[in-house]
Symmetry: C2
Subunit: 417 residues, 2 copies
């Protein structure tokens, strides 16, 4: 029996999440006897709650294919966290109601461990109330912190951006250091895990010897030791490059930029970690610094996406449909690394119960003993993920972006409040 | 009579200044009867003062060609400003002394209007003391503020980076705006002129309608009008993208981040324009913001260099040598735009006397009446400069960089203090 599918993007977007969406939509078209239409949630799961469903069948195949090259979430995403199911199951029940109204038998949720948890709960509720729904969570997060999967689509591209930017800025700094800036600090994303910061370490080469210091959220920040290391690097190489995770904490477990301020509101807004560290270095070592905070630029840089990452983002979209068509439920297509010396990977199914709400931190064995660098083990893990340059078309000097019609399905239910 | 050449990089580096250096060195090899060796100043003009001259003839042709793809200044640059000639001519005399000692008859100075002034003064001093030296200043500055030349090598690539990054981050913001961040602020370089900020306007498209606001150093910042424009953009599109020059000033002509602070030292270090504006928006409009400061990343992003910019950077290097060989003195190879509808350009010689110390600001006609956008005239000027993608080789997922031997010539003079 033919049933429709619902797809939603969740949480912070990436430069390749639309490639997952496009692959999923195109693959679903191969099973016209099993999957009817693919509806996309307008602004993620909120779109399902509000019954705002975008009918992707109204889009041309070429505009869906164009999505492969467009960063961000084309249907909209959200950071909306559903209420605790045990305390208030009304939102989950509303989702089932909307799914029923539109004959939705397949729920694809493209996000992190939060989304895996939501998909997991809906599959349980479906079983409980006797509503047949196959729930597939699809991995997506620049934070690379999902359990079971070897890596997360979105991460490889940010890693490539940070490694490239670190190398480029280090060459700039080296040119100027004799008479000008001596310390450069790059603040990168990753509030809870140091995967992105670690990727900065891939920039290390014999020309610049940078980065000299990586600051991970997994290692408590020690001001004295940090300043000593900056001083030593400047003495040895003439300059010092620091890659700092936005999530670094002091010995008391507080975020650096939360501590040491009088006006927490004002300063929390003003200060990032990079300007904070820059200030420390200037005050204590009297060295000229520069700092950068690429913020959204790092996770939306489709112009510099990793080919490996793009292929994996596409593959999880394809496999999600294939798993659903096979009748699998409550699973995630995960990336499994081959045991061969040359990097290889394949997609397998893993149970959501083991992924939901679990956070994978950077292993201790990836961080050097002094806490400021990455080990060979980390390099061996990271390097394949940034390999290859994903194709992209330019128009008038900037990446070409198409547009979608984004036509919504007629509502059948009462408004959700 | 064969004489040697001296080449130095000056001021902030760019993603294509090494392409100018490489083209100059390779072109000089075509005139072996006129030009002997090309010496490069170690860390710019400081290298001449200290008699630290890198012998580029010791480098292989392939490693010189590699320079075409490497950002930063391969021989080192500096922000060293020579003393005022009328008050103390000792530094200029030292330069002539070093040039004499190494039979240098050609001085190529690759920088901005400051460097044009230095080259101009040395050519005058040479004539005065009867030392034959051809002085050619070669344009380079991401600020695009040199007189006479249509544009400056280095600018087109930053413009391409900012336009691309603005577009990418806007797509990201649009995805999230319904439930999360509503305002994104991108701080760009350009302390005195708004050329780079203007380039953000090239990102405008029908999908995002961003950027909504560009803040130029040429227009005094008006907090009330700015906040009203942010509010209106969020009301209309659901979000607001701001591209802000680091050099914006208040009505009193003071840099924004200098004003309105109690602890000027601490805040000058802590605050950039972007976090300052972000704080304003949060405080006054209660909207969630994100901000980015790419800093060095924008001017060293060789992975995203404009092909047009690269070709122009190469051409000025070639022409500098050709002008010198023809016996021209005290000139700069400038870029002249063709009058045809389709963009064309050629290199001509312009007198340093008309370039030295002159700063070209963004014309009023390039800024929309409300002061927050760019006009069609600006777009017609800017667009050709970012066109084309400069080739680059990757290794292990990041741009490949070669290394130079950087062998110094044996000193002949006393140490300079």
């Amino acid at each position: 029996m033919k049933r429709n599918a619902f797809y939603a993007q969740s949480g912070g977007v990436t430069s390749v999440i639309n490639a997952t969406a496009a692959s999923l939509i195109l693959t679903a078209k191969k099973y016209p006897k099993i999957i009817g239409k693919v509806y996309a949630g307008k602004n993620g799961i909120i779109g399902a709650l509000r019954e705002e469903l975008i009918d992707t069948s109204k889009e041309s195949v070429s505009s869906i294919k164009n999505l492969m090259e467009i960063p961000g979430g084309a249907f909209g995403s959200c950071r909306y966290k559903l209420k605790n199911y045990d305390e208030d199951s009304s939102e989950y029940e509303r989702l089932i109601e909307v799914f029923k109204a539109h004959n939705i038998g397949y729920f694809f949720y493209n996000g992190g461990n939060d989304s895996a948890d939501t998909a997991f709960k809906i599959s349980k509720l479906g079983a409980k109330v006797g509503y047949d729904i196959k729930c597939i969570a699809i991995p997506k997060t620049v934070d690379n912190d999902l359990a079971l999967t070897d890596c997360c689509p979105g991460f490889g591209s940010v890693a490539k951006y940070i490694a490239t930017s670190t190398q480029e800025a280090s060459l700039d700094l080296k040119s100027m250091a004799e008479s000008s800036t001596k310390v450069f600090i790059l603040e990168v994303m990753g509030r809870h895990a140091g995967w992105i910061a670690a990727a900065g370490g891939l920039a290390k080469n014999e020309v610049t010897n940078a980065p000299h210091i990586i600051l991970f959220p997994e290692i408590n920040f020690n001001q004295k030791s940090f300043l000593a290391k900056v001083k030593k690097s400047v003495a040895e190489d003439g300059y010092c490059v620091v890659v700092a995770s936005e999530g670094i904490k002091n010995a008391k477990g507080k975020f650096l930029t939360e501590s040491d301020t009088t006006d927490s509101f004002g300063h929390a807004q003003l200060g990032g970690v990079a300007p904070y560290l820059s200030n420390l270095v200037t005050k204590n070592l009297k060295l000229k610094t520069h700092w950068a905070v690429p913020d959204y630029l790092q996770r939306s840089a489709r112009h510099l996406s990793s080919k490996t990452d793009l292929l994996q983002a596409q593959a999880v979209g394809v496999k999600a449909v294939e798993f659903a068509v096979k009748g699998m439920n409550s699973v995630m297509p995960i990336i499994v690394r081959g045991k061969t010396k040359n990097y290889s990977w394949k997609i397998e199914a893993a149970p959501l119960s083991k992924i939901a709400n679990v956070e994978k931190k950077l292993p201790k064995s990836f961080i050097t003993k002094d806490g400021y660098g990455i080990t060979k083990k980390a390099i061996d893990y990271l390097r394949p993920l940034i390999k290859g340059e994903a194709e992209i078309s330019y128009k008038d000097g900037i990446p070409k972006i198409g547009s979608l019609k984004l036509i919504e399905v007629r509502k059948k239910l009462k408004r959700w409040i």
